[in-house]
């Protein structure tokens, strides 16, 4: 577990650097902040995964434009694009097809802003929205955390069971146009996103306003968002920081883990710093 301690330490240091960069003379340095945010993301991935998938994450995060693939079954449909890690995961952790469906339904459900689970789904929706879905998505360490989060997801199952999921979401059917599938989901995400977003956005927007002036000049809104997020709440972190496409693939299944981690002491000390 010592790698987790290390990862956490690196994350706190990175957050400190981002914070300090805003008061440095000469304005925000885009290059340095980009590098720091990359380190932050890597550390977070390692921190939020167990050791085995952590190794896979390292191999995965090299890939450009990692897109988030929803289901294991869809992943199996496209073996050439699957990584070695994915194949290993899919063989070693056989998932019932129900679970992917549940996840999909979660992704399309974004009206329940208040529940923790929905933080994760609306995040996933936002991820869908923000990422460019032109390449086949790869799920990295989604599967291990799924087993952890399954008990949490089940209570809300019934609530969302009746929700209309797009036909393509059915894992068994082999739908050739995978990008098409993604885009459909994306559209439905966008439509339903509008309902949920105002509340979350207003919460972030108020703290955003004063800090955005400083950041807008360089359009490093992602950096400023990180700052506002850490200042406002932990859940804000998930919605905004995960807007970066590369992170999303790995984050998807781990969001529910984050909710547990929110209550851990080390996290709160990191946030208290701001």
């Amino acid at each position: 577990m010592e790698y987790k301690v290390e990862a956490h330490r690196i994350m706190s240091i990175s957050l400190g650097k981002i914070y300090n960069s805003r008061v440095q003379r000469g304005g925000i340095k885009l290059h340095k902040n980009l590098l720091v945010s990359l380190v932050l993301r890597s550390a977070r991935q390692v921190y939020l995964s167990d050791y085995y998938s952590g190794a896979c994450l390292n191999a995965q995060s090299e890939r450009e434009g990692n897109e988030w693939d929803i289901t294991d079954s869809e992943r199996e449909k496209f073996p050439p694009s699957a990584t070695e890690c994915d194949r290993v995961e899919s063989t070693e952790e056989p998932q019932p097809n129900e679970q992917p469906e549940k996840e999909r339904e979660y992704r399309e459900n974004d009206d329940e802003v208040k529940s923790d689970q929905v933080d994760c789904t609306s995040t996933l929706q936002e991820q869908n929205q923000n990422s460019s879905l032109d390449s086949v998505a790869k799920v990295s360490s989604e599967t291990p955390p799924e087993s952890i989060t399954e008990p949490k997801e089940s209570p809300s199952d019934s609530a969302v069971a009746e929700r209309d999921s797009t036909p393509e979401a059915n894992g068994e059917s082999h739908q050739p146009p995978k990008p098409h599938v993604c885009s459909n989901r994306k559209r439905s995400a966008e439509e339903s996103e509008s309902g949920d977003s105002p509340q979350k956005r207003t919460k972030v927007a108020s703290s955003n306003a004063k800090e955005d002036e400083e950041a807008e000049e360089m359009d490093t809104s992602n950096v400023s968002n990180l700052i506002t997020i850490f200042g406002s709440s932990f859940s804000g972190l998930l919605s905004k920081e995960s807007a970066k496409p590369e992170a999303e693939a790995e984050d998807s299944g781990q969001i529910c883990c984050d909710q547990m981690l929110k209550n851990l002491n080390p996290w709160s000390t990191a946030i208290v710093a701001f």
Binding site: E6, A7, I10, I13, K17, R25, G26, G27, K29, L30, H31, K32, L34, L35, L38, V39, S42, A43, V46, N58, A59, E62, E64, N130, S132, E213, E214, E216, E217, M218, D219, T220, S221, N222, N225, A243, K244, P245, E246
Partner: protein, 450 residues
């Protein structure tokens, strides 16, 4: 300063070591003949050194070649403030580039984060004397005192170096300018910031062409930035730019007006065995230089320098480890921000030796023919004038020899980031914080003479 009984106990050593931030040298550049050497510092000043011409006396000392003395000093950039964005603009000189000399005057471009300026450096050693209407101090004479007319004549006077700004290229960049490069056509130059590269004409200040733009539509999708750019030394249509991901892109301006699409991309697949949290940071290229021949590229990332052949895109042809012993210390270097240091790299005049800086006032030279590298030190305590530079070694486990420096005793505040190599001779200029070291290879010069 007041004196009191406790003062003897106060350790004043910090005063001796204290360096004014503004004096830290931030760029060094020889001109095309090597007679002039310009340095820029964090305070926005430019100091130009001139090489003293060798004595024509036949009985001169063996190996005596000209030394560099201060020629001119001027304030190039002042601290600025962008009111619209509430941004302070540092006056630090990021780069200086000389223009090829066309007449008696010298021209150089200097840039800070936002503004590029063209300076004319000229000498004046004569002045007109004998005006009719003005006296020697320039005051207007009373006409009634003028009894006769004379023609003003030029009289020799003490040499005066005048530096005047001739062009100011402002408002071209939203992000921080990291490189400028003068084109071989002698008329244009490029300036690169984190996301864009602009091409300017030296005579036109209110317009520039944008030739590369890697800004994504959504800034949250940003994955890489431009770290350095340079024109090809002979082909005026080619330029290269490096990215924070460790890739180099060669662009041909004949292909399209906007060169977002590269002609060639040079990248080396990452070694998965070396992967760590900081792999992305240490793969970021901090400097790229064309060889004098135009055939090769030299790049510097955090731990290595690499030589690339323009004809081979799949990887570098040579890789040299600068300070591999730091690989296990990346986490602490990340904490103290040293991992973000941007080292420069240079070629020698014949492209046979490459040089780059390191920590602890060390710099490294690699001989491309033998593949071997040496470590040299730029530190005034150990360098007396005309002393021979001795090679140093870093001790990192294994056998330790006398004089070796342990990895843990390296001083990371003494970093050699900026350097330049004379275009024709073996003379190097090394910037170490606020000091400039100029080393000359006398031995070889002596051999050449005989």
């Amino acid at each position: 300063m007041g004196e009191d009984g406790e003062s003897p106990k106060i350790n004043h050593s910090f005063l001796r070591d204290y360096v004014t931030e503004a004096d830290v040298i931030s760029t060094v550049e020889f001109n095309q003949t090597g007679d002039l050497l310009a340095t820029g510092d964090k305070g926005g000043r430019v100091v130009i050194f001139q090489r003293e011409t060798e004595s024509k006396d036949e009985s001169e000392e063996l190996g005596e070649s000209g030394e560099y003395n201060v020629y001119s000093t001027f304030q190039s950039h002042e601290p600025d403030f962008d009111y619209l964005k509430s941004l302070e603009i540092e006056e630090k000189i990021n780069k200086i580039r000389w223009l090829p000399q066309q007449n008696a005057a010298h021209f150089l471009l200097s840039t800070n984060d936002k503004t590029i300026k063209l300076w004319k450096v000229s000498e004046r050693d004569k002045r007109p004397e004998g005006y009719n209407l003005k006296d020697e101090e320039g005051r207007i004479k009373d006409i009634s005192t003028v009894t006769s007319l004379r023609v003003p004549v030029l009289k020799p006077t003490d040499l005066m170096v005048e530096v005047r700004p001739r062009r100011i290229f402002a408002n071209g960049h939203t992000y921080h300018v990291n490189s400028i490069s003068v084109n071989s056509d002698g008329e244009t130059y490029l300036s690169a910031d984190d996301l864009r590269i602009n091409m300017w004409h030296l005579d036109i200040t209110d317009r520039s062409f944008n030739i590369v733009d890697i800004k994504p539509a959504n800034m949250e999708d940003l994955t890489e930035v431009i770290t350095a750019a340079e024109f090809h030394p002979q082909h005026c249509h080619l330029f290269v730019y490096s990215s924070s991901k460790g890739t180099l892109r060669l662009c041909d301006m004949r292909e399209s007006a906007l060169c977002d699409k590269h002609s060639k991309i040079f990248e080396e697949p990452e070694d998965p065995g070396n992967r760590s949290f900081f792999s992305e940071i240490i793969s970021s290229v901090s400097d790229v230089k064309f060889s004098h021949s135009g055939r090769y590229l030299l790049t510097r990332d955090y731990l290595t320098v690499k030589v690339w052949d323009l004809n081979m895109e799949k990887g570098p042809v040579e890789t040299y480890q600068v300070h591999e012993y730091l690989r296990s210390k990346l986490c602490s270097l990340y904490e103290n921000d040293c991992i973000f240091d941007k080292f420069e790299c240079v070629w020698n005049s014949t492209d046979s030796v490459i040089m780059t800086g390191a920590y602890n006032s060390f710099f490294r030279m690699f001989d491309r023919e033998t593949g071997r590298g040496v470590t040299l030190e730029a530190w005034r305590e150990s360098s007396k004038p005309r002393a021979v530079l001795r090679t140093r070694r870093i001790y990192n486990g294994g056998r330790r020899r006398r004089g070796d420096v342990g990895v843990d005793s390296l001083d990371f505040t003494k970093k050699i980031l900026h350097m330049a190599w004379h275009p024709a001779e073996n003379i190097i200029a090394i910037a170490a914080t606020n000091n400039l070291y100029i080393f000359q290879d006398r031995v070889n010069a002596e051999n050449l003479k005989t």
